[in-house]
Amino acid sequence: MSIAAVAPPVLRMTGVSKSFGATRALDDVSFELARGEVHALIGENGAGKSTMMKILSGALAPDAGRMEIDGRPYAPGGPGDGLRCGVSMIYQELNLAPHLTVEENIMLGREVHTAGWLDRRAMSAKVREVLALVHHPEISPDARVGRLSVGAKQLVEIARALINRSRILVMDEPTSSLTQEDSQRLFELIRSLRDQGVSVIYISHFLEEIQRVADTYTVLRDGLSVGSGTMAGTPLEDIIQLMVGRKFTQLFPRIEHAVGEEILSLHRLKGTRMAAPVSLTLARGEILGLAGLIGSGRTEMLRTLFGLDAVTGGTIVVSGEELSGRKPWTRIGHGLGLLSEDRQGEGLATSLSIADNVTLSRFGPYRRHGLLSPARQRRAVADWIGKLKIKAKGPGQKVGDLSGGNQQKVALARLLHQQASVLLLDEPTRGIDVVSKSQIYEWIGGLAREGKAVLFVSSYLPELLGICDRIAVFHRGVLVEARPTADWDAAGLMAAATVGRTSRDKPMEQRNAE
């Protein structure tokens, strides 16, 4: 019948186990990957996906079990071995050297040279070729990677794997920072790679996306492989149930909240990195979503509002008081709090403890006569760990050791601990599992119920439609329109974000210009 039944799978993992101390991260997991298939690996944060992929790449050695590639035993001694055997990883947290150019990054470790002299021309050609292959020929090979957007950085990572001619490509949350359009292109790319015989292990929390791109799936839960099968014909509800081990009720919990009086108003706010002035208002108990493509100016607006970028024009009024200057600490004093989109780079001090990270913006309660009490600090944070269901050993644990979803909870705990009354959340659910997401939606709803105001930036339309009271759309730095959520649908938001006009077909620049 099919050749796949005869040919050995590209990758076979049998009875793989791995423990860290008392925690069993992987327990007797078996896994098969056929040539030219896209296999989705699904599971909550901490289910064992990362451990499994680290073992595959050679970054970790399994305690027990065997692996085969093309029927030959495969026991990598380190990530270098994995790479040589054709296994390439594209990590969720980008692994690029910010000071080097796109070309230097892509060719890193695979430089074309003659007796040590770099062959720039040959490398440039290869890089252009591979950038065209990821459908982004416009990314300049000479651009500094540090200057690129997160989305572009991810494409550079994918390009780097492609140049390695890998036969097994592991993609960990590849679309978490891509726009819908870029994701679409990525799926096309994945399909064309698959048709060329490349096998892809695809890890994502976006189940709709998995349904579109994957041929087969395997679900991990608490280190066990709890189910696998073909994607076609499997309803999403079944997969979610496998993931959480119980019936999953509602992704977007509706928390009743009442919209109160106005607390924040921006009038023609302009900042150094903002393309156009922005006016908007926000009320207590209101969740205002900000939709738009990556780079459409939402992050820049939040940063200007929070005083991280200089204000060059317009006014910010919070609770009737006009703010000025460029000082994040005064913004905090006025009750603003910002959750950064860049969790690793900016959001958290990963080498410090959970306790320090949570209390960083408000040490006051733990200070007496100028001295801090670490004990009281830890006790208070232990409460937050319980309240936010953060999976951690205790308040003293380093934030860098936590999984992505738990790190995000720590970052959020800081805002809550800070008692901010206007929360500026920049992509708060990026790259975290569906259960953590649902919890975060619940807290956002709860905060609104307490009378706090939330500005919620997201590139994931279903969540904006699911939890916001109003949604505004950014297009090339211009705020297109803020309308009640009931007046929007996904297509309308997409249209506004991509072409800068609403479905009513009015060019919004006019309406915004007053």
Binding site: E346, A349, L360, L371
Partner: protein, 323 residues
């Protein structure tokens, strides 16, 4: 949230970790018959302690700077400048206490300038303080007229007396000053908001700014504190030499940095401790002392200390990984 109890041994290892290197160095010389007798005497420990004062004071400030993600290459020049200013003031007939304060303040001002340059010009600390290294050294030579400044003996000179005058002090007043400030700085780092902010800035400056920490202010304060300690160290240098010598302490900044690094400080910021630094200072002092007693030439000491730095940092990394 209960925290899994670590075994007693691993906890003990963590606590005594920094001391192991020190004990090894002391044990090494204590086991060599030729020097055993002289090395293990109380008088020798006293003199090692006194010899450590100048580096130790500089290293206290440097620990803060390095935890905050910076570096202060101007430390040694700053020490020389402060010693010259102190001598100049004593010579000019001001009271010894005022002279001492002037010396300390000079250091503080230099540190403050470092901090302001780093934050306002947004330059890398390495560059700013390297520039200041030359400026402070030059200023010291200029003020001293390119020679040593002699000054009359005052009580300031007794700060570094190996056998202190009220003999119940046991150790030179300078040593007690170091101990006092070491405790104060350890408390500052662990128990004050300023201390937490230093760690935060060194660990991730962007996060610190986002959390409302006035990162520039923290950095300026850290360099100023480092400068004040260099000033105090300069006063001790003057006390020891009884003259203000603008050419003193050349290259000492590297010893100071080495002490912090041996003690577990990370040059990429966010890590380090006062206890570790003090142990680092003592390791180097005992090595110098032991090598001198053995009659080993200077170059042997240099090679050993160089190797110790690399070994110490490697061990520290391994300890971290094991955690």
């Amino acid at each position: 949230m209960s925290r899994p109890r670590r075994s007693g041994i691993s906890r003990a290892l963590n606590f005594f970790g920094p001391f192991i290197g020190l004990l090894l160095v002391i044990a090494l010389f204590a086991l060599i018959p030729e020097v055993q007798g002289r090395f293990l005497r109380g008088a020798n420990f006293k003199s090692v302690a006194t010899q450590s004062v100048i580096v130790a004071l500089g290293a206290l400030g440097m620990t803060l700077v390095i935890i905050g993600g910076g570096i202060d290459l101007s430390a040694a020049s700053n020490i020389a400048l402060a010693s010259v200013i102190t001598a100049y003031a004593v010579n000019a007939g001001v009271s010894p206490l005022l002279a001492l304060l002037l010396g300390v303040l000079t250091g503080g001002v230099v540190g403050m300038i470092n901090g302001r340059l780093v934050t306002k010009l947004r330059l890398v600390p390495f560059i700013v303080t390297m520039g200041m290294m030359g400026i402070a050294r030059g200023a010291a030579k200029w003020i001293a007229g390119n020679q040593k400044i002699d000054a009359p003996m005052t009580w300031v000179n007794e700060l570094m007396a190996k056998n202190p005058r009220p003999s119940w002090l046991l150790l030179a007043p300078g040593v007690w000053i170091v101990i006092l400030f070491a405790v104060a700085m350890a408390v500052l780092l662990k128990y004050t908001v300023f201390g937490r902010h230093i760690f935060a800035v060194g660990s991730n400056e962007a996060t610190a700014r986002l959390s409302g920490i006035r990162t520039n202010r923290v950095k300026i304060a850290v360099y100023a504190v480092s400068g004040l300690f260099c000033g105090l160290s300069g006063v001790m240098e003057f006390s020891r030499l009884t003259v203000g010598d603008p050419t003193v302490a050349v290259g000492l900044e590297l010893d100071i940095i080495a002490a912090v690094v041996i003690g577990g400080g990370s040059l990429s910021g966010g890590e380090g401790s006062i206890l570790g630094t003090m142990v680092g200072v003592l390791i180097m002092s005992f090595l110098r002392n032991g090598c001198t007693m053995m009659g080993w030439p200077n170059y042997i000491q240099e090679i050993i200390i160089g190797a110790i730095i690399i070994v110490a940092v490697t061990v520290d990394r391994l300890r971290h990984r094991a955690e």
